[in-house]
Symmetry: C2
Subunit: 336 residues, 2 copies
């Protein structure tokens, strides 16, 4: 989006927020820190402005992963409000309208503000405020909050901070510009208890999570001179440790950081529905040389250039072959 | 140090830097990111001001741990310059004059600027600019740099950024206030390539380092209901993986984050000099409830309240007993 178009979209979103009274906020399925942080922060901004706001999430998202259970979700509904057609629908951190399983479809009668930072956002909104330069969707919400004259209290500041910290990988990813740090400084000055936030997000870690990591690290494989570093978590690992599926979070970062790695992949076996073993595959690109969202799309999934994923019924060997082929295709010198 | 005394010390340091022409910069033994970042940054500030500056480090510090080898150490000497008595000696990030093995002792004829952020700094300088509120020594150097009117180029900015990132644990430790983020924003705007810095510090990780982690995590022990979480790295682990001693860096963070942990300890066997096995013990406190610098001092070492260490010839069981006793003593309700 060109800078002018972005400024226009921002103005339109601000105008719509100021002009409307009733809102329904949604985010993507299996919400992460930025999805939940942006959702809760936007809800608080709207509430602070005296608007009627409902956050909407599917009932089957609960319980949330343990690290996100601290969010104050009062104001949340698991069924669409009866007057949803009269509400402005705000999508937050949602690259694709299909990634929210709420049966909301674009139509003349639904007014959608699409606020996101995913570069591959499908622009499904009535207004699309999509800024891939933003480190996280929370950064866009923070900007809107300031433009709307809302002063953050501690809870609002913490919701935004969670989005910032999780989507920048603790300020480590390439998307972390000066603006992200200015935002952090302001949020801490507004009362964020950083120690408490980090404890909730990254500490108070259930011991089975450490045991799961220990198991996963025992069978790391490197392929193609290390360009593909691959890990696996099996059903047996889950069963032996009592770990939940969400405890695999973070394992892939260990694979990603190994010298020479272009693409890190973690395959975890999830409970199969009808006897067919299903794997969820997470992908990370270490330096942007390989676009893992393209690999994920080839596998039937999606995501960012540097972080993406898909589900598959491929066996272990077939999966490795698929990934090696995909990585090799992107690393091959472009033909002229 | 009271705010007035701190401002005085800062003024005196600035005055000394402006007034003197020749400097010799030192830091603590086994330098970490903040020690090296502050050293290199101060050297560049002084050089930029047209001063004659020498960085001094003991020859046996080399080679540095792989993650710090990128520092530009031109201007470094491993023997004290012949005119050292005529030079202003600047100690950076050095809590105790004994922690630099260079034979520099305080005396009437040695002029020492002691610039540090360790709360237990022994104030050994002619001027002591010791600010425990600073997230890192680099933050103090950054402040001095600005007061001296030096504009950072990319290399100076990166040296400061390395100090900031490593001593705040990627902005995660309690010492990370708004000032740390403002500093980060300015340094990134001055040209820090954050992605390159993080790759050097945390990625491009030799595969044996991941193998060492996998081994260490297999034998984590929890004591006293989890208050003490303890890990070990044995000589066999080093031998089997080919890992260097510095590859143990970061393992303790995994122990620290386990739910319920008050103190995390990692003991690693180092090459024994005369047949007696020696262990280096690193300690971390998770929430400041236990002062691990006191435990380290009881063991003959030192450090910060939340991060400290010592060396010991205790056997495995004796070491566990010592640590349990020390932790229990601090967790016991104070007698009235």
């Amino acid at each position: 989006m060109a800078p002018d178009a972005m400024a226009d979209a921002r103005d339109r979103v601000l105008e719509e927020i100021r002009g409307a009274d009733r809102f329904c906020l949604v985010t993507h399925e299996h919400p992460d820190g930025d999805a939940l942080g942006s959702l809760v922060a936007m809800h608080r901004v709207l509430t602070e402005l005296g608007k009627d706001s409902v956050m909407l999430m599917a009932a089957d998202e609960f319980p949330l992963p343990y690290e996100y259970r601290f969010f104050d979700l009062s104001g949340l509904s698991t069924v669409p409000p009866g007057d949803i057609v009269d509400r402005t629908i705000v999508f937050l951190d949602c690259g694709n309208i299909d990634r929210t399983p709420l049966g909301i479809v674009k139509g003349d009668d639904v007014h959608i503000l699409n606020i996101d930072h995913h570069h591959d956002n499908t622009r499904f909104g009535t207004v699309d405020l999509v800024d891939p330069e933003a480190s996280c969707t929370a950064e866009i919400v923070w900007d809107l909050m300031r433009a709307l004259g809302v002063e953050p209290d501690q809870e609002l500041a913490e919701a935004l901070y969670v989005g910032l910290v999780t989507d920048t990988g603790k300020f480590m990813y390439e998307n972390t510009g000066p603006r992200a740090h200015v935002m952090a400084a302001e949020l801490i000055a507004a009362g964020v208890d950083t120690h408490a936030v980090y404890r909730r997000l990254y500490e108070d870690m259930p011991f089975p999570k450490l045991e799961l990591l220990a198991r996963a690290l025992r069978r790391v494989e490197r392929h193609d001179g290390g360009a593909l570093t691959m890990g696996r978590v099996t059903r047996e690992d889950f069963d032996a440790t009592g770990a939940e599926d969400s405890y695999t979070e973070g394992i892939i970062d260990h694979l990603r950081t190994v010298e020479g790695t272009k693409v890190a992949a973690l395959a975890r076996e999830i409970a199969s529905e009808n006897g067919t073993p299903v794997k969820k595959v997470s992908l990370r690109s270490t330096d942007g040389e390989v676009d893992v969202s393209a690999i994920a799309r080839a596998g039937g999934g999606g995501g960012h250039r540097q972080a993406a994923g898909f589900s598959t019924v491929l066996g272990d060997d077939e999966l490795v072959a698929f990934l090696r082929e995909q990585v090799a295709a992107q690393l091959a010198p472009a033909s002229t």
